[in-house]
């Protein structure tokens, strides 16, 4: 299945960049954060994904077609983002292809930005960001930068596949998970995740616009959130609430 997914490069790809991932998931944290990074850092499309496995969707921008899964970048950042909810069965081939591609470009660290749903989100004044990593060194680095570690539990979705595959390949990878709503777009959580991204990866952006435009983003993101909810249900995302039975 992986052979049916390819990355088409449109520009020269920098070597030794940090590769970020922003995929539709709970609270659309990753996608909202990615969109803000693209705007604030002026990232350009450097590559895109092509595959007959992807849904027959293109995204039109200024009348021209674009793949729903694209990679943006500058001289030291690569950012993979999807503008459509990925069907559960595509997460493995899509993530493996992106990681293999990033590895071929000598990416020094992979960071996925996402959320962790909390039932009492509406009452939380201060959101926490948790991290999980593909190896002990990366986990320690995150901890030293002040990120709380997600010690035990289940992780479901693209970031789960990313961590596991990077662990297998021996690549440093980190998942940042901001506390968020499960079923509503959460720009505040995206802002929080971006603040932590600044400390763990040195990619600093001003999040004030993101917070100011929060209501507008929530309104715009409704349809994508609805489609994402359908896919999250299929991949049993609520398992993240489960209490695991540990087998040591």
């Amino acid at each position: 299945m992986k052979d049916e997914v390819r990355i088409i490069e449109r520009k020269d790809i920098p070597k030794g960049a940090i590769m970020l991932f922003g995929f539709p998931d709970v609270g659309l944290v990753g996608v909202i954060a990615a969109s803000h990074l693209i705007q604030e850092l002026g990232l350009e499309e450097v590559a895109y994904m092509d595959s007959p496995l992807l849904p027959p969707i293109i995204v039109l921008h200024e009348g021209l077609p674009h793949s729903p899964v694209r990679i943006f970048g500058n001289h030291n950042i690569l950012l993979a983002v999807s503008e459509t909810a990925l069907p559960a069965e595509l997460i493995y081939p899509v993530m493996h292809t992106l990681i293999d591609w990033g590895r071929s470009k000598g990416v020094k660290m992979m960071v996925s930005i996402s959320g962790i749903p909390v039932p009492d989100r509406q009452d939380l004044e201060e959101l926490k960001v948790f991290a999980a990593a593909s190896n002990m060194e990366t986990l320690k680095m995150a901890q030293e930068k002040g990120v709380e570690i997600l010690r035990e539990g289940y992780m479901v979705g693209p970031q789960a596949v990313m961590l596991q595959y990077c662990a297998t390949l021996g690549l440093p990878a980190l998942t940042l998970l901001a506390q968020c709503f499960f079923q509503y777009p959460d720009p505040e959580a995206a802002a929080k995740a971006l603040e932590q991204l600044g400390s763990v990866a040195g990619i600093k952006v001003d999040v004030s616009k993101l917070l100011e435009k929060g209501e507008e983003i929530r309104l715009k993101a409704r349809d994508m959130m609805k489609r994402t909810q359908q896919e999250l249900a299929k991949m049993r995302k609520t398992q993240e609430y489960d209490i695991p039975l540990y087998i040591t």
Binding site: Q122, D123, Q183, Y184, R218, K226
Partner: protein, 149 residues
Amino acid sequence: MEETPRRRRSIFDIIDEYFESLEAWAERFSEALLEKPSWNCRTCTIEPLRDILVTSDEVIVTVDLPGAEESTIQIKPVGKDTIEISAKMRRKVSFDDFGITHYRGEFQKFHCRTRIPVPVYMDRMEVRFKRGLLEVRLPRKHEYEIPVE
């Protein structure tokens, strides 16, 4: 080399598979049937995202109403098992605001209807609105209890 005996599928496996495929088909069908735009140009309304949680003693309906004017929120019971929610937006939103030029229309209101899946006391509804999120709590009506002997 010993030959592995071919495992025969039982009638129960076949029935299970049949029901699984039927369920998948029903799911796809109902999804396709429910597909509709989340906006209505004729009524100038936007359908908000919402969620229902049923606990042992209440039903909690949450509705995301970003940009809604709190004083205009209306929650009306419709019959015994449905509530209708509407709210005016603080400012009108048009397709242009979303960067869309192939549709025309302005929206000034949120509107949705939600079916409550279990019996509730509509007259004992509790409501709060915080950070653009509406929360409606409805106590559950336990019509009878089965005694445990």
